[in-house]
Amino acid sequence: MTGGAANLKIRDLTVVFGKVVAVRDVSLAAREGETVAIFGANGSGKTTFLKAVAGLVPATRGKVAYRGEDVTSLPAHERAARGMRYVSDRSRVATRMTVLENLEAGAWLLPASRWNAARERVFSLFPALASMSRSPAGVLSGGERQMLILGRALVAEPTLLLMDEPFLGLSREVRDRLLSAIETTLKGRATILLAEHDAEGAYRLLDRHVIFRNGSIVHEGTRSDVADAKELVLLLHRHFRP
């Protein structure tokens, strides 16, 4: 485990759905401002793990502590109030609400006085959203939706970002745009857990990485363990194909 004061501590987290053990005894800690990439095949439990940390699915066993407080029994909205944000995949925008309303929903917990500034910050990061702010989110393209979802998290000025495959199915161009937005606004300021397939995209952000298989962590490494994204891909390849 990397040194320093861990502000997110997860111990022996286990999630069982009916007969399926989706996440099995996962322990993970992250320091303030650290980005941890979570790799794993589909169905390896990444999404369930992030949702359990966010409080969106109940943990069967284990403990989640954030900033020294045990939040295991808190519901999702109370964890959100403590600065956690779960960034879902792009299908989860409210299509019948406008872009602006989607952002406003993201700023639900933010004092009204800070809303204008937060909104302008997102619009300056993603000018495409500014120009479509009055349109229903249903007309956005996939890339724009992902920008909206990220923007919806950024307006709330989160301190812990749980990102679930944010670059899935995006063109390289959109992905780079999102990456630079994360780098300029959050990198080093917020703790980020990033579940990804795309090793290349994730490599730009990560400080550490873990690999999930069958709901457990099978490998942990730091950025310095791999020289570049290509090497990371090779590493993942080894773990995905036993």
């Binding site: 399926v20 095949a41 589909n42 169905g43 996939g142 890339g143 199915g169 063109s171 995905f240 194909r241």
Partner: protein, 229 residues
């Protein structure tokens, strides 16, 4: 050689937005074709029209020379046009075995054969189960299946009608490498051994290049390029 599936002048609007406009394409028997396009380019709408889930505002779709423009999806399946969904919608309370029985029951050849065909049906199901690697899961209710298994079930369901044309909507996205490889092999084997043509929709160019002989590129509701590999 006559085209297996051909479409001409396909146009579709939702309300005021025109999603696809004047698309023409044709697929030869046994031909592997790719369809590439960014999100929102109308890929899914086109697939829905070709598979019979939606009907176009204008244009015609033909299959083996017969017009099927307004033939619903279930009738097209019985003709041999099968499709898979990007997000599987399983029957929660049915087992894998039962889900495949449903697909086989719809096969006219199977149905008219009557009770005598029960053994054949079992044989066909076992064949599908072993080809897709679902044999061990055959009694599990679909609601308890993992994503990878659901995707395999989609394949098994599509193969149940012994399709002449498979329309595959983003089947390889978000899959583990193992799942992906097995399903790819399955698809290629069907193409090689049974001469099954397929239209593979994906936003993964390397994948398309490795599988398809021809790739159609869709942008803003039109086919803007056609690349031969």
């Amino acid at each position: 050689m006559t085209a297996l599936l051909s479409a001409e002048g396909i146009t579709k609007s939702f309300g005021a937005t025109r999603v696809i406009e004047g698309i023409a394409l044709s697929i030869a028997p046994g031909e592997p074709v790719g369809l590439f396009g960014p999100n929102g380019s109308g890929k899914t709408t086109l697939v829905n029209i070709l598979s019979g889930l939606l009907f176009p505002d204008a244009g015609t779709v033909r299959f083996e020379g017969k017009e099927i423009t307004r033939l619903p999806i279930d009738a097209r399946y019985r003709l041999g046009v099968a499709r898979t969904f990007q997000i599987p919608h399983p029957y929660p309370a049915l087992s894998v075995h039962e889900a495949l029985r449903v697909a086989l029951a719809a096969d006219p050849g199977n149905r008219s054969a009557g009770e005598g065909a029960r053994g054949d049906e079992e044989g066909a199901i076992e064949d599908l189960l072993s080809r897709t690697g679902l044999f061990n899961q055959r009694l599990v209710p679909c609601a308890l299946l993992s994503q990878g298994c659901l995707r395999r079930l989609e394949f098994a369901r599509a193969f149940a009608c012994r399709p002449k044309l498979l329309i595959l909507d983003e089947v390889f996205s978000a899959l583990s490498a193992l799942d992906e490889k097995e399903l790819l092999d399955l698809l290629l084997a069907a193409n090689r051994d049974d001469g099954t043509a397929f239209l593979l929709v994906s936003h993964n160019p390397p994948l398309l290049k490795s599988l398809c002989r021809r790739i159609l590129v869709l942008e803003e509701g039109r086919i803007v390029r056609e690349r031969r590999v």
